[in-house]
Assembly symmetry: C2
Homo-oligomer: 227 residues x 2
Amino acid sequence: AILEAIVARLDGERILAGRHVVVTSGPTHEPIDPVRYIANRSSGRQGHAIAAALARRGARVTLVSGPVALADPAGVAVVRVETALEMRAAVLAALPADAAVFCAAVADWRVEAQGRKIKKTGAPPALALVENPDILAEVSRLEGRRPRLVVGFAAETGDLVAQATAKRARKGCDWIVANDVGAGTGIMGGAENEVVLITEAGAEPWPRAGKDAVADRLAERISGIFQ
Amino acid sequence: AILEAIVARLDGERILAGRHVVVTSGPTHEPIDPVRYIANRSSGRQGHAIAAALARRGARVTLVSGPVALADPAGVAVVRVETALEMRAAVLAALPADAAVFCAAVADWRVEAQGRKIKKTGAPPALALVENPDILAEVSRLEGRRPRLVVGFAAETGDLVAQATAKRARKGCDWIVANDVGAGTGIMGGAENEVVLITEAGAEPWPRAGKDAVADRLAERISGIFQ
């Protein structure tokens, strides 16, 4: 942490000084009953690295993180949450912000939570799912309090660019960072990432790199907006 | 680890020397699709502590662990798995054993895994669940290879002793270590545990104690069987 602080000071221009950026990271856990839950795979490594990279550039960063086994990044205010509903509340409470980067793998659905443990008797239960709020879409369309730059993430299998481009339009965000999470890519939980940045201008494939390097490049691009 | 090794040497009689014990710990993760899964809440702290306590008493311990954020206990052979099917295979491969302690929170059900990510279009999907193998019941009824002592765990909400006593009979195991995981007990993920040991002789409530202390007491009781 001391070394990181020194590196931050040496980073030259702290180009995001005075800016507030909200970053989400990690999965959400949606309870099924007191002992079971539905989760998304997400180590939080990419989101935490982005929060750290933005803080190194001088931004005040609020990191809203689901359950992860990672240390809090240096110089970042961390709000720990478990469910999508808690994440939404924490994000809205953190606004206003100049930019928001939604890297968390938020569960699309939740289960109406039960107070008692479901017993294993007879047939498996049918899990009735209800849709979670769409934090990215909601913040992208906020009247008045919309951050100037809203960045979403898209983890896809299949036609990455087409799906992510459609997602950008559907959500109303400015950029989508898209990656292929198909089996065999080794990206989920791994140290590297290979993304395509989708902006108004089109699709820009970035070379495969460490998650820290991807975070730095994204923070650099975000800095460009506020220069 | 060095300190633990010294403590182990000082433990006096290594009463389980020459014995092989299989311990399971942690949750299992059952994939829904490439990015989502169903999980049980389990930090693995109790199971890992039991493995360590048995190893300190001289046992050769095979610890079959689901995904946890814990270091491998000193002097224990760890097999890491993700799903219930993988845990079953690892347990059966680890036999024969003198005793087996099934502390893992194995998912009762799994989802027929899908190769592609489920898209959030229209109504939430109905998750069709299929029953997982019951490792505790299977090992308790193994012909020929049944460990002399089979210990199961029961995490219950409601009438703890009645449910755990019924579980002991249903599974065919020797002991059940039962605990109340209702909201407010702070046991799930916490440092302490408050259990009732169910044996042929009946229910024996143990005082609330650290998970290490509960592990020591259980290892002591297991040692008594092999004295």
